[in-house]
Amino acid sequence: MTTASLARTLTATRRRRSAQRASIVTSIAMILMIMLVAAILVAPGLFAHVSPLFNGTDSLAAPSANHIFGTDQLGRDVFSRVIYGARPVLLASLGGVLLATLAGVAIGIVGGVAPRIISVVVMRIVDMLLALPVLLIALILIATIGSGVNSIILALGVAYTPGFARVVEASVRKLRSIEYVEAAKVFGSSGLRTAFRHLLPNLVTEVVVMASSAIGWAVLTATTLSFLGLGVQLPNPDWGSDLAAGATSLSTAWWLSTFPGLAITVTILIANFAGDWVMTLIDPTGRRTRTKFRPLGGLRTGMPAAQAIAPEEPVALDPAETPASEERA
């Protein structure tokens, strides 16, 4: 063994070690972050000692030791409003993504395995919805069902479903021709059983990656809707509506909208980092040899490469784009 090749082996080992260490640090940081978010959701009282609705004596006070984020026109503590405002935003965006995931997987499987006449109709509707901007779909729904957190969940769910359904349908189509799925069919496995036993487990990785990368966008859409006054109604705390309410007194009290806005920004950042983290945990390209995420680790075999997933834009998937990128690959 020459010195040069020995040196190369050593460098490679060192690089692998430092990469491992980095991934452990990220994992710990992410888990702590998720626990913190969970704590804010479950027990906001731990962080904010004043009720977000309590009208204090000093109104429009600038940030100080008493009120670290200042107070608003009615003397309510902005910090407390930011902490309690997390709940509607996260409920709406997580709920919306969950709804979209479930509906998208169901519709995608139907589109992939149902008789041709049904699947064509279903996927045509999906394509039509995909051709509309997400915010427009959400606005249409809210126009019909009225405003509120539940409406935002439903609106986000419907608006994000087509993106999931498209990708799932494409994967199901590919999976159908794989040997063990065909074998199951030959051995007389019913359509439903094939879907649950063979298709669904193979879709998990892809769907989890897609859902985690959609959360950041869902936070943005949810806060946009509540910014427009279509979510939680004042005086209840909510980042979007507080940001909008503070915007009118921007020149005199900058802290009113700055802190809710920062909260949204930080949340989107955490969501994006968490999405990337989940993606490296269950890396379908197999660049990482070990998978720490045990429940999903065994399911990587035979997984078609998740080429259709664009982390930046989970919903806007042009049907005309996919075959082109396949051909290029």
Partner: protein, 310 residues
């Protein structure tokens, strides 16, 4: 030609779908339209029934839809419940403002995103790449409505460089365009950076170099041309999002556009306006996507073949 025709045919069901959604809206909203129109005027049930008949709401659904389409083709979208002007007039008078904002935001996205993505991709991990990283980091994480407020706070209120609220002057367009375009500039930067790095590794770049092409030729003729295809597709796809994002930006800056009109109409349940705005935005979006696909087909003939095979 066949490609153009096929692409045109494919967009027909989508256009029909948009009109169906817009049409059904009036039936999905709780309460009936006549009640909403006569709201506050103490109308008797007989008056409401008469108005329902006058509006054609007693006809079978398909006949109502047919009338809706016929009216639509004549440019008639009904009258606003609030001002009683025609919806078409109200929407079209607001369209130029929205188009100006959308175009300006798109320009901001392209002017920042394309060069930044190119230099970042040509020299990964350089100083410029790091600047690009910061720009796209801010663009992706900071919501555009928050960025708008920050820009107003600093640029308009602290330094008084441009007006904070729309006053009709061209400078009033600067802040809305930057706040709306920045996020898309970030997406564009990331996309182009990734593509450029990938293209530099491709076989045809290697063989172009082997043939003795200059680096400028390689960059412009091969790398830039090939990475512009996904960029054009992305710009087209983002058009609709910018258009709806304009709704929020218009509300913040007090611009009288289609977006802010749609937002207020939703809260006031002014259904004909909402219907009209959906048709306008939806069809605008479809037309832009059609144009983008045709442009991509010209730039990259491979996509034409791929669509033919599909």
């Amino acid at each position: 030609m066949a490609f153009t025709l096929r692409r045109l045919l494919a967009s027909i069901p989508v256009v029909l779908g948009v009109t169906i959604i817009a049409f059904l809206l009036i039936h999905m909203v709780p309460g009936n339209p006549a009640q909403a129109m006569l709201f506050g005027s103490n109308a008797s049930p007989a008056q409401i029934a008469a108005l329902n008949k006058q509006l054609g709401l007693t006809l079978p659904l398909w006949e109502q839809y047919w009338n809706f389409i016929v009216q639509l083709l004549h440019g008639d979208l009904g009258n606003s419940f609030v001002t009683h002007n025609t919806v078409a007039h109200e929407l079209l008078s607001r369209t130029p403002s929205t188009l100006a904002l959308t175009g300006a935001a798109m320009l901001v996205a392209i002017v920042i995103g394309v060069p930044l993505g190119l230099v970042a991709g040509i020299r990964p991990n350089s100083l410029l790449d790091n600047i690009a990283r910061v720009v796209s980091f801010i663009g992706v994480a900071v919501p555009y409505f928050f960025l708008a407020l920050l820009l107003v706070l600093v640029v308009a209120l602290q330094f008084n460089l441009v007006p904070a609220i729309d006053d009709g002057s061209p400078t009033a367009l600067i802040l809305p365009a930057i706040s709306l375009g920045w996020g898309y500039a970030a997406i564009l930067t990331r996309l182009i950076r990734g593509r450029v790095i990938e293209e530099y590794r491709s076989d045809y770049v290697r063989s172009a170099r082997a043939r003795g092409c200059s680096e400028t030729r390689v960059l412009l003729g091969h790398v830039f041309r090939n990475s512009s295809i996904p960029a054009i597709t992305m710009i087209g796809l983002q058009f609709g999002n910018i258009l709806t994002g304009a709704a929020v930006t218009e509300v913040i800056f007090g611009r009288p556009g289609v977006g802010s009109f749609l937002a207020t109409s939703i809260t006031t349940k002014n259904i004909p306006v909402v219907q009209g705005a959906i048709v306008l935005i939806g069809i605008g979006y479809i037309v832009i996507n059609l144009l983008v696909d045709l442009v991509v087909g010209v730039v990259d003939p491979r996509t034409r073949l791929a669509t033919a095979a599909a």
